[in-house]
Amino acid sequence: MLLDFSQLGWWRIALCAVAGVAVVFLLAPLCLLIALSFDSSQWLQFPPPGWTLQWYREVLADPNWLNSFLTSVELGIVVTLASVFLGLLAGFALARGNFPGREMLRGFFLTPMIMPSIVLGIALYATFLRLHLAGTFLGFVLAHLVLALPFSIVAITSALEQTDKSLEDAAMLCGASLWEARVRVILPAIRHGIFSAAIFSFLTSWDEVVVAIFMASPGLQTLPVRMLGEVRQNLSPDIAVVSSLLVLGTILLMGLTALFNKDSKR
C-alpha cells in the first residue's frame, strides 16, 4: 500500500505531529471553557487565579437556566418522537413504495438540510405569525421538526433498504397482517436506524439556535437561545458552566449510543 503506516519511516513522526496538532486545535477551546467554569475570577481570567464551584451552585439554583433546560429537553423529546414517527411513515413509502415521483419526493424531503437556516427561520416566523403559532410550544416543535425530519428519514430509509423485503413476506405468510409484520418484525430489525434517527433528531433540536431565535418568546426560550442572549448581555462564568454541563451531557449520550450499538451486535 502506498500509505502503509509501517512503511512511512520518518514521516510517521510528522504524521503523528500533524494529528496531534489537529486534536489540540479541536479540543483546546473546549478544555479552556471547562477550566474557566471552575475559575474563581468573575471576569473569565486566564490562567485562573483560583478554583471554585461557586458558579455551578449559582447556575443550578437559577430557575431561568433550569426553565430553559427543561424547555429544550421537552422540545427535544417531542420533536424526536414526531420525527421518528413521521420518518417511519416516509421511510416505508420511500423504501417499499412504488409510485411515480418517488425519487423527487426523496430529494424534496432532504431540502431542509441544504436550505440556509436563517431563510427557514424567517419563512417559518412569517408563516407562524399569521397562524398565531409564533412563540408557542407547538410552533417551536413544528419548526424543529422541519430541521430534524431529513435526518430521521435518511436513517430510517437506509435501514429499511438494507432489510430484505422477504423478511416482511415471510412474516405475512406466517399469518401476520402487513402492519403486524412491520411492527413485530421490521421495526425490531431496523432498530439501529430508528435509534440513530432519534439521536440525530434530538441533537438537531437540542443545539439549534438560528430558527429557535425566531420561535422564542420571553417566556419560552431554549437553552442555546438563552446562552446566546447571556453571552451578548454579560459575559459571565455562568456560560462556561452551562457549556461544560452540555459537554458532559454530550459525552454521556455518546457513551449510551456506543453501549447500545455494542449490545445489539450480539
Partner: protein, 345 residues
C-alpha cells in the same frame, strides 16, 4: 371432478411488455413433491409468488381445495414458504422464530410450546433453540426456516431455491433432510430450482418452465427419456441431437445410414436424441474420429466427430470399454437403434 389439490387455471402475469407467466394451467395432487424447474426468467419463481399471493395475476385463477385464492391476502392463505435468502427474524431466537406463526394465530401457550418442540425435533436442531439466527450457519438457518414454515401445518409448502446459497456438500445433506421431512409430514411441496440434478433427486413430478410457459410436466424419467422438445432434451441431462430424415417410417442419418427403428405416421426432417451413455465405441456403426478423451474414474468421456462433421459426446463405463481408443483414432460409434428417440416437435 376428481380433485386436483392445487390448480392453476390459465394463469397470466405481465410486467409491462414482458409476459412473465403465459397462460399456465397445472394440477397438483395432495402430498406431491413438485419441482418448478427452468432457466432464470422462465417464470417459475413468478408462478410461485403468485401462488403465495405476493404477485397478483392479470388473468386466470389459483385454486386450493377448489377455493379460489386470488382475492385472499398472503396472511390468510395458510401457505408455508422457505425463501432463497435467509428470512429468519433477526431479533428472535430459533424457538421464538418457530413460535411466531403460532403466536400470530393466538394459539394457547402449551400448544405453541409442544409444537416448537416437535418442529425442532423434526429438523434436528433442538440444541440450538435459544440461539439467535446470526449464530447459526446458512444450512441451519434454512432448516429453522423450514421448521417455521411447517409449524402451523400449512396446506402447502413453497420453497424458492432454498439451497442456492449453500455449498454442494451441505446442499446434498439438506436435500436428504427435505426428502425425509416430506415423507414424515406428507405435506404438499412446490420447490423452485434451476438445478436439474436437484429436481431429479427430489421430486415426484417436474414442471419444466421456458419463456413463461410450461414446456413439459412429468416424472424425472419422463423428461429424461421422452422429452417433448429439444429444449427439454437439452435442459435435462446432456444429449446428442442429430438431424435425421424419415423415409417410409425409418429415420436416416445425415450420411444415409438407415436406422431400424420404425416410426409410424412420421415423415420428413426430425431430430433424434441420443444420450451420451447410450453410445459406445464399437467395431461397426457410425465411423468417427476421436477428438477428445477424458478419464473420469468410473466413466470415460469421449468427444468424437462424425463423417458429416458433427461433434458427439460418448460416455462409456470404464469396465465396459474393452475397446481402448485415443485422440486421433478412427473408430465406430454404436448404439441400440431402439434407444434412438425421435423428438416429437
Amino acid at each position: 371432478m376428481s380433485g386436483a389439490y392445487l390448480e392453476l387455471r390459465n394463469l397470466r402475469k405481465e410486467f409491462g411488455d414482458f409476459v412473465a407467466i403465459n397462460n399456465i394451467s397445472l394440477r397438483i395432487q395432495k402430498g406431491e413433491f413438485i419441482t418448478f424447474l427452468g432457466p432464470s426468467g422462465s417464470g417459475k419463481s413468478t408462478t410461485l409468488y403468485a401462488i403465495a399471493g405476493f404477485i397478483e395475476p392479470n388473468a386466470g385463477d389459483v385454486l386450493l381445495n377448489g377455493r379460489s385464492l386470488v382475492r385472499v391476502s398472503p396472511n390468510h392463505r395458510d401457505i408455508g414458504m422457505v425463501f432463497q435468502r435467509y428470512t429468519l427474524f433477526p431479533h428472535l431466537t430459533v424457538a421464538e422464530n418457530i413460535a411466531f406463526p403460532l403466536r400470530v394465530r393466538r394459539r394457547p401457550k402449551a400448544e405453541i410450546e409442544a409444537k416448537v418442540k416437535e418442529m425442532l425435533d423434526l429438523v434436528h436442531l433442538t440444541p440450538m433453540r435459544d440461539r439467535k439466527p446470526a449464530q447459526l450457519s446458512g444450512g441451519q438457518q434454512q432448516r429453522v426456516a423450514l421448521a417455521r414454515a411447517l409449524a402451523y401445518d400449512p396446506q402447502i409448502l413453497l420453497m424458492d431455491e432454498p439451497l442456492s446459497a449453500l455449498d454442494k456438500k451441505l446442499r446434498e445433506d439438506i436435500q436428504a433432510e427435505i426428502e425425509r421431512i416430506h415423507l414424515e409430514t406428507g405435506v404438499t411441496i412446490i420447490y423452485v430450482t434451476h438445478d436439474q440434478e436437484e429436481a431429479l433427486r427430489l421430486s415426484d413430478r417436474i414442471v419444466l418452465f421456458n419463456h413463461g410457459g410450461i414446456e413439459q410436466v412429468g416424472t424425472g424419467e419422463d423428461l429424461y427419456d421422452h422429452p417433448v422438445s429439444t429444449f427439454t432434451a437439452g435442459f435435462i441431462g446432456n444429449s446428442n441431437l442429430i438431424d435425421v430424415h424419415l423415409q417410409s417410417g425409418f429415420p436416416h442419418l445425415p450420411d444415409g445410414t438407415k436406422l431400424y427403428n420404425y416410426q409410424p405416421n412420421r415423415e420428413g426432417a426430425k431430430r433424434l436424441m441420443l444420450r451420451p451413455e447410450d453410445l459406445f465405441l464399437a467395431k461397426e456403426g457410425i465411423p468417427v474420429q476421436i477428438t477428445g478423451r477424458t478419464y473420469l474414474g468410473d466413466v470415460i468421456a469421449y468427444m468424437v466427430r462424425t463423417g458429416w462433421g458433427q461433434e458427439l459426446s460418448v460416455r462409456t463405463q470404464r469396465q465396459d470399454s474393452n475397446l481402448q481408443a485415443y485422440v486421433g483414432d478412427t473408430v465406430c460409434v454404436g448404439f441400440n437403434h431402439e434407444k434412438a428417440y425421435i423428438i416429437p416437435e
